[in-house]
């Protein structure tokens, strides 16, 4: 009988298991169907919508905390086909949204066979609707089930300038979406050029996700699980740029009607104070709105190429502004000494070769006067002496030494600033000349390439490199990679490459005679109209032959001020500007005055420059 009892007990265990499971399931049903308020709320819900909350894009301020780049609200109207009311007042909708009946039909009937569109999911009905239209539509939204309003941020530019520096934004391409692994979705915005492009990953912020319960008419009922799974959107980081927006604006005004570029740098830090490429355009034209496409096409078709950023993309021969650099290298390499004199007989002559000196001047008693008078002969000689340092037939070694110094100054390769599309200029290498002048045909010597001594020939620099050169001279031998970012507003450190000091191998003492020479150029030499009463300005002009039109040389100036403890270094390159002294140096000078004084006293010069129109054609 004992065994019988065990089986009896086991039968009860099995029965107990069945009953307990039944009770558990009933309990679960009770909690789901009766007790759980969450499910009560979902009683009429038929789905959950994943709503993406777009973060505000980061703003950009200038170095004085003035807002350069702002966000403005624009709206997209979305529609879900299955939720439309077939009896809705279509005419009223068209009137409210200010569209025609044809537009309405075209926008609402998508190709539903295409997987991009689904009748059950919202798709774009009308984009870029202004806040005024939207507010009115919002009032009547309840009459139009299936329609919804989506906020999109658009950029606006209070100063209407710095278009290239700030850059524009556009909708992401399929490639952007694929490359970024889930960060972007169709219709998102991405920075295309300028700072918008460069700092995209900081500016864009992080999207938020809200899960919203919907009933079977698509009406939102409230957050899913009380919003527990939602994530907040995080606004993009605000940036304080190194740009001085008023200086930038002033520079753009000065460059109106001209082609060329200006870059101003704070030598102490490498901050780019202004970066002007002319011609430019009002950045508000490219803000995302209805007319953008048209403006974009117009700007692209403009023969003066406003999208071609002349500060970093244009490679110019430096011309005479190269001379101070030649002098510095000569001094450092010991082939030149500060009080070396030279009698200029109107040009550099070597056998059959003549490099004419265009400036009319007498005996040059030292380096400073050589620079001040911009004597071609003087610098061809210095350049030849550098190249021939290891013997006339050993030009390769001498030239390699020379270009190594150029590399130190950031020439021949991009400076790697925080700005896209930067070109590196051109410093011809030893092997380049070996190919150009093969040994069988006599090879090459210092005299073959002597025009480089005065900044002509193959040597090319971008305007940013010229400005950086001015800053390096101002610093007496070192520079910080120029950059457009000053700091992130939230304290995120800026890239370390902008706080790394680059030291050249020119000793500080060699800079004094050269800077004295650049001062002489302003005081008594070629750059006299760069003088600013009361400001100790130092600089050098250049005139570069224009291969397309002999009468229209390019005008160039670079310099810094004040001479001691410099605050600003500027390079200005004006295409077809003629002599360096006619356009480039007054522009740079005015800019320096504006920056150091805040206002410009030389109104006459200012007006004259502003009114000047320069083109490649004789007028």
């Amino acid at each position: 009988m004992a065994t019988r009892d065990i089986f009896q007990e086991r039968q009860l265990v099995v029965k107990g298991m069945i009953i307990v499971m039944g009770l558990v399931l009933i309990g679960r049903a009770l909690s789901l169907q009766v007790l759980d308020r969450e499910f009560q709320k979902r009683a009429s819900a038929t789905g959950i919508d994943k709503v993406i909350v777009h973060p505000g894009r980061g703003l950009i301020y200038d170095r004085n905390n003035k807002l350069m780049l702002n966000n403005e609200a624009l709206y997209d109207i979305m529609v879900t086909y299955n939720e439309l009311n077939p009896q809705m007042d279509t005419m009223k909708l068209c009137r409210l949204l200010q569209i025609s009946k044809e537009e309405f039909l075209a926008n609402i009937n998508k190709d539903f066979k295409n997987i991009r569109y689904s009748k059950a999911k919202p798709y774009l009905f009308l984009s870029k609707v202004t806040p005024e239209v939207c507010t009115r539509f919002q009032e009547y939204l309840f009459e139009f089930p299936g329609f919804s309003i989506d906020l999109k941020n658009v950029r606006s530019y209070p100063y209407k300038c710095a278009a290239q520096v700030l850059g524009y934004i556009s909708e992401v391409s399929q490639k952007n979406i694929d490359d970024a692994h889930g960060i972007y979705a169709k219709g998102d915005i991405i920075g295309s050029t300028g700072l918008e492009f460069e700092y995209e990953q900081y500016i864009r912020g992080t999207k938020g996700i809200n899960y919203v319960l919907k009933d079977n008419f698509g009406r939102p009922l409230g957050p899913y699980r009380g919003g527990i799974a939602d994530s907040m959107s995080v606004a993009g980081k605000d940036i304080e740029a190194s740009i001085d927006i008023e200086l930038q604006q002033y520079g753009e005004e000065l460059m109106a009607g001209k082609s060329g570029s200006i870059v101003a740098i704070e030598p102490e830090t490498g901050d780019i104070l202004a970066m002007i490429s002319a011609p430019t355009y009002d950045p508000n034209l490219l803000a995302i709105n209805k007319n953008r496409g048209q403006f974009f096409r117009e700007l692209q078709a403009d023969t003066r190429k406003p999208f071609f950023d002349r500060t970093v993309m244009a490679k110019y021969p430096p011309g005479s502004i190269f001379k101070p650099l030649v002098a510095l290298i000569g001094l450092q390499e010991g082939v030149l000494w500060p009080d070396k004199g030279l009698a200029c007989g109107g040009g550099f002559k070597y056998n059959n070769l003549t490099v004419k000196c265009v400036h009319n001047h007498g005996y040059l008693k030292d380096v400073a006067h050589g620079i001040g008078e911009s004597c071609n002969n003087y610098f061809c000689t210095v350049f030849k002496d550098i190249i021939d340092k290891y013997g006339f037939s050993n030009a390769r070694q001498g030239y390699q030494t020379f270009i190594n110094h150029l590399y130190d100054f950031g020439l021949g390769k991009p400076l790697d600033l925080d700005y896209p599309n930067e070109k590196g200029g051109n410093v011809p290498s030893v092997s380049y000349y070996d190919r150009l002048y093969p040994r069988e045909r006599g090879g090459w010597y210092s005299t073959t390439i002597v025009s480089m001594g005065i900044g002509q020939g193959e040597i090319q620099m971008t305007t940013i490199q010229m400005a950086n050169l001015a800053a390096t001279i101002a610093n007496r031998g070192h520079f910080y990679t120029p950059h457009l970012i000053k700091r992130f507003k939230d304290g995120t450190p800026i890239p370390v490459r902008f706080t790394t000091r680059h030291q050249t191998r020119i000793q500080a003492k060699h800079f004094e005679p050269v800077i004295d020479g650049m001062e002489l150029a302003v005081l008594i030499g070629t750059a006299q109209n760069a003088q600013i009463p009361g400001i100790d300005i130092v600089g050098k002009t250049g005139t570069v032959q224009n291969p397309q039109n002999k009468n229209k040389d390019h005008s160039v100036f670079y310099g810094f001020a004040p001479k001691y403890n410099p605050k600003i270094a500027v390079a200005a390159y004006v295409e077809y500007g003629g002599w360096g002294s006619t356009v480039a140096s007054p522009i740079a000078s005015l800019l320096i005055e504006k920056y150091l004084r805040g206002t410009v006293m030389r109104k006459e010069m200012e007006t004259k420059i502003k009114q000047k129109v320069l083109t490649n054609y004789d007028n």
Binding site: I19, G22, L25, A29, L32, Q40
Partner: protein, 474 residues
């Protein structure tokens, strides 16, 4: 024959309770499938179209086939099943062997033979065959299950089809075969392994939800409590001291001194155990310590396995079950969530026949087969769900009673087998639709759409009723 004739008058009656619940459940299933298929647009008027073009039409044909089969099976002599048991079992095994080669792939599983619109799932036959074969084996001698060898054979009978079904792969059907442990328990297996299995499942679930660190901390603290409770002298002081220690440990965890607190906790627990061992020569605590040790090791091991050895989709499945709040409601959680929302949407009394928006508008996946319970929940609410659950509980309870009243051991074994199969189907399926169990694709008996499944369960019930009607035949 003589025996049968002599008892005919007394015992030819069917068990009406079982039969009527069975019929009620099948009818419910038909109505539910009708409702799901009704959708927004209703059914075609043409009868031919209705019968062959719609789910409910095809299900009606299967219902008719099952009805005929039921009548035919009732005419088969009850003694036959004992003798053909192994034959049916082997047929099932052979078909399971063939299905990977000749079967049709549906949803990534090769579990079906297809002849035109007629599909057949050999796993259903294998369930029935295994129930018969196991019963027959248990019936083979009086002292079966006494030797280790016979126990292994008994388990082997149903593990073989499990292995073959896992090849398809069909985890749901394979799980059903574990229900045969119920009959083995009833017939003499010791409860120890069952308890250990249960403890392991509970530990696994707790570990997944709360991390092994917290699970082991709780287990160690609990063991310490048992030891403290053994003190006879100044018990209250020991208790106060222990509560203070636990408070310090909780404080240390809050301060993120995780492993320090863990070691302290273990040290206290061991010290208490050792105290009783030294002072009171209490050796009874030794197995407790071993058990604790094994539980802690098990907890950390399962955690390691789930995090490092299981594949991502397997981990996701478990997560959907145990940590739904961490899952994407638009992604992996979608099915469960839609299912729970449909059931929850039914409220107390439901939305009424053909009125459930979620099931009608196809918001719930697989809603006429594995998720048919959603339709019941949405259209008939808590009352409807409870009614179905109660019907199943009564049916299962009744089958156990039927089992226990059999004189023929074979019949008792068979009834327990059927009860086990139905129990697993019922519990897992309904539990799954309400998020109580993980998503395992098995049908709800008698109710879910599916011809083979309906025919299979009908066969099981028919044989059960036939055996029961002959219970006085020996």
């Amino acid at each position: 024959m003589a025996v049968q004739l002599s008892n005919q008058r007394a015992n030819q009656s069917l068990d009406w309770i079982t039969l009527s619940i069975f019929v009620a459940l099948v009818a419910t299933g038909w109505v539910m499938i009708y409702s799901v298929g009704y959708g927004n647009s209703g059914y075609p008027q043409d009868l031919g179209e209705f019968m062959f073009q719609t789910q409910i039409g095809r299900q009606s044909i299967w219902l008719f086939i099952s009805f005929v089969a039921f009548l035919l099976l009732m005419t088969v002599d009850w003694q036959v099943w004992r003798t053909v048991a192994y034959f049916i079992y082997i047929t099932g095994i052979v078909l399971l062997l063939l299905v990977p080669f000749l079967g049709k792939e549906i949803n990534g599983q090769k579990a079906w033979f297809a002849f035109g619109w007629f599909t057949f799932q050999p796993a259903e036959l294998a369930k029935f065959g295994t129930a018969l074969a196991l019963s027959s084996y248990l019936n083979s001698s009086t002292n079966v299950l006494q030797s280790l060898q016979s126990r292994i054979t008994a388990i082997g009978i149903f593990v073989l089809p499990v292995l073959l079904i896992l090849l398809q792969p069909d985890a749901g059907s394979a799980l059903v075969f574990l229900s045969f442990f119920i009959v083995l328990y009833r017939e003499g297996f010791s409860p120890g392994p069952y308890i250990i299995g249960l403890v392991m499942i509970v530990l696994f679930v707790l570990t997944f939800i709360y991390e092994p660190f917290y699970v082991s901390t709780a287990l160690i603290a609990l063991t310490g409590t048992i030891f403290v409770n053994q003190f006879r002298m100044r018990k209250i002081y020991w208790w106060i001291g222990y509560v203070v220690v636990l408070g310090l440990i909780v404080f240390a965890i809050r301060q993120q001194f995780y492993w320090t607190s863990w070691l302290a906790n273990t040290a206290v627990c061991f010290a208490l155990g050792y105290w009783h061992y030294e002072r009171n020569k209490n050796r009874g605590n030794f197995p407790i310590m071993v058990g604790l040790f094994l539980c802690v090791v098990f907890s950390f091991t399962t955690s390691y396995i789930t995090n490092n050895i299981l594949q991502e989709h397997q981990r996701t499945r478990i997560k959907v079950w145990l940590k739904p709040e961490e899952c994407d409601p638009q992604g992996e959680l979608y099915n469960v969530l839609q299912s729970k929302m449909a059931i929850g949407g039914g409220g107390l009394s439901g939305k009424g026949f053909l009125e459930g928006p979620m099931t009608k508008l196809n918001y719930v996946p697989e809603q006429s087969t594995d998720f048919i319970f959603c339709t019941i929940g949405e259209e008939y609410g808590f009352f409807g769900s409870t009614l179905i659950i109660v019907l199943f509980v009564i049916l299962l309870y009744r089958i156990i009673n039927i089992a226990e009243r059999q004189r023929a051991n074979f019949s008792r074994y068979y009834a327990y087998c059927i009860a086990g199969i139905l129990f697993v189907h019922f519990a897992i399926n309904i539990g799954m639709t309400m998020g109580f169990f993980p998503i395992i694709g098995i049908p709800l008996p008698f109710i879910s759409k599916g011809g083979t499944s309906l025919l299979g369960f009908t066969t099981m019930m028919a044989v059960l009723l036939k055996l029961d009607s002959n219970r006085y035949s020996i």
